[in-house]
């Protein structure tokens, strides 16, 4: 990303320096624009800052000095209270294993289906792609009640597996749509060479196709992980017992509690945000590349 952005700068800079005369005017404009961008950045960050300073403020401090002051001394009871009330490690583990399972299974399923459509060129593939695209567009409300009754029938309500199964399919509908168009342009020469060597379709998939599309698969896995982690509607309905709930659901279940004090709420929000934030920072480069790839498609 950065290397791409830097290239035009170096080309443009000498041209500009020779041509522009009114450097004072330009200097003023530079500050106005920079301050404008900074103001927007502050507005975007304000909720995070408010959350941070109020997560470590005691309830007494909060009621006397209000939400805008810095905490007089650091208070960690809100954090421990949230941690213990919602039994955070359980929720964290539920979120981690369901999201990880969806990211692996969803990507695998997308690859198999997209392989049949993009490389296998099965008949009626245009229709198949349309169906997967449509499946990706459906609002979850239209699936919710039937899925809820089906899960009850097979005993999967209140189980993370219901989330894994449902989101593996929903995410892979998107993955299939994306990968099928990527594999549709897969170099024919490579496939033909492999076929001449006598490789069957399974070997071609793992030895020829897989290594080449691996970067795309990595991006899909990261997307599926974050999307499943942030998912709210279906988990809210499916997971009603505390032992099965995921992090966002646990946090929102606190909301109705009238006795809940503001520091606990903010500490909870902070702790619930941290895993995705860390994940984002860790994979930031891959992700920005992924957003770009998705956009051009």
């Amino acid at each position: 990303m950065t290397t791409l952005a830097q290239a035009p700068t170096e080309v443009a800079a000498p041209v500009k320096a020779t041509r522009t005369g009114d450097r004072h005017h330009r200097g003023a404009l530079r500050w106005v624009v920079l301050v404008g961008c900074a103001v927007i950045a502050v507005l975007m960050l304000a909720p995070f800052v408010l959350m941070l300073i109020n997560a470590f403020k005691s309830p007494g401090d909060y009621s006397t000095h209000g939400p805008l002051s810095l905490p007089t001394n650091l208070y960690f009871t809100g954090l421990t209270k949230f941690w213990n009330t919602v039994d955070f490690p359980v929720k964290l583990w539920n979120s981690i294993w369901t999201s990880a399972a969806v990211s692996v299974l969803g990507t695998g399923l997308s690859l198999l289906t997209a392989y049949a459509i993009g490389v296998g060129r099965v008949r009626g593939r245009a229709w198949l792609v349309a169906v997967f695209l449509l499946a990706n567009m459906l609002p979850q409300e239209v699936l919710l009640y039937p899925l809820y009754t089906m899960a009850q029938k097979v005993g999967l309500n209140n189980s993370g597996w219901s989330i894994v199964i449902i989101f593996t399919v929903i995410q892979s509908a998107f993955g299939t749509y994306l990968l099928a168009s990527v594999l549709g342009t897969f170099p024919k020469a490579l496939l033909e060479a492999a076929a001449l060597d006598g490789a069957n379709s399974w070997r071609v998939l793992w030895r020829v196709v897989f290594p080449i599309v691996r970067p795309t698969l990595a991006v899909l896995m990261i997307f599926f992980f974050i999307w499943t982690w942030n998912e709210f509607f279906i988990p809210l309905v499916m997971l009603t017992t505390p032992a099965s709930q995921t992090v966002p659901i646990a946090l929102s279940s606190l909301q109705g509690d009238r006795l809940l004090d503001v520091p606990t709420l903010n500490a909870g929000a902070l702790v619930s945000l941290l895993p995705t934030l860390l994940f984002f920072l860790f994979f930031q480069r891959t992700l920005t590349r992924g957003v770009t790839a998705g956009a051009v498609k």
Partner: protein, 312 residues
């Protein structure tokens, strides 16, 4: 096809048949998790049903005709238009300006590090779980203990509004949160789109004496059209589907002023025990989404075709 030699034809077909095996897991999964539930939902929508083990009564299209006379249903779709304003129109415009300023000005005149730092801050709300964002904002907007009113008090406003609690301010407040969540998405995509545009185009225009704004209008906007369409399509679908922010901010209230279709069907499913009716709302929402997506896609195809003809 049938004119070709039959042997080649059959071999090709056998080779193709293998791939149906790869298709099998995906198709089975799609059928079980999406196609069958979708069919069941339509089936429910033709019944009066309290859900669970209670009996189902055939009602034909009754639920759908009832919807036509339901003020809450209509206001939920009216609010969908506002959701589109808050999640598509405003963020796309602001995102376009921010991306252009960051890429064209900050990146070139201040530094790329500053530009990517600012981009990251604008993108931060996008990675936050929506439920977490909603809960923090709910507290910020709180009439008594919230930060916004504390701030207003400190600058001398005696009676600041109860933002999420009164029908006149709840919808704008929700929209503000949605704009805050969405801005990062178009900004990031437009920034990468701008990197794709050939700098020679700008240099040529600059030599012709075109100012920044003319270059922006004549070069940037047409060049980044594909990205604009992708953003419009994905965000419009997301806006029509929006649920979590409404659930954690207002639960559709006060007085239904922030009700959206997805929340209305949820309400019918689980609060009012009118499963058939909720299913009908969900089916109508699906129909609206598919039609809107098809229209946007059609417009894109037509515009792409026009551009191609223009080149020739």
């Amino acid at each position: 096809m049938s004119v070709q030699t039959p042997r080649v034809h059959r071999a090709a077909r056998r080779r193709q048949a293998v791939y149906w095996l790869y298709l099998l897991p995906g198709v089975i999964a799609l059928t079980a998790v999406i196609i069958v539930p979708f069919g069941l939902n339509v089936f429910y929508s033709l019944h009066r049903w309290k859900g669970g083990l209670s009996p189902m009564h055939w009602y034909g299209f009754g639920n759908y005709t009832d919807l036509l006379h339901d003020a809450a249903f209509w206001s939920s779709f009216r609010n969908s238009v506002w959701m589109i304003v808050a999640m598509v129109v405003v963020p796309t415009l602001i995102g376009l300006i921010l991306a252009a300023v960051l890429f064209d000005y900050i990146g070139k005149n201040v530094g790329n590090r500053t530009a990517s730092f600012l981009r990251a801050t604008y993108y931060l709300p996008q990675i936050m779980p929506v439920a977490v964002a909603g809960i923090v904002w709910n507290w910020i907007f709180n009439a008594e203990t919230g930060s916004l009113n504390a701030m207003l008090h400190s600058i001398g406003v005696a009676h600041p509004p109860n933002w999420l609690g009164s029908p006149s301010t709840a919808l704008p407040a929700v929209m503000l949160v949605l704009v805050w969540i969405q801005i990062g998405y178009p900004t990031v995509i437009f920034m990468s789109a701008l990197q794709r545009v050939d700098p020679e185009l700008y240099e040529a225009a600059e030599l012709d004496g075109a100012g920044w704004f003319r270059r922006f209008r004549a070069i940037t906007i047409p060049q980044i059209k594909p990205e604009t369409f992708v953003i419009t399509l994905t965000c419009t679908i997301a806006a029509l589907k929006v649920f979590a922010p409404i659930y954690v901010l207002t639960r559709g209230g006060p007085e239904l002023s922030t009700l959206v279709p997805s929340y209305y069907s949820f309400l019918n499913f689980f609060d009012k025990s009118k499963v058939g009716y909720g299913a009908a709302v969900a089916t109508v929402l699906t129909l609206v989404i598919v039609v809107v997506a098809a229209v946007i896609q059609l417009l894109q195809n037509r515009s792409a075709r026009r551009d191609e003809e223009g080149v020739r």
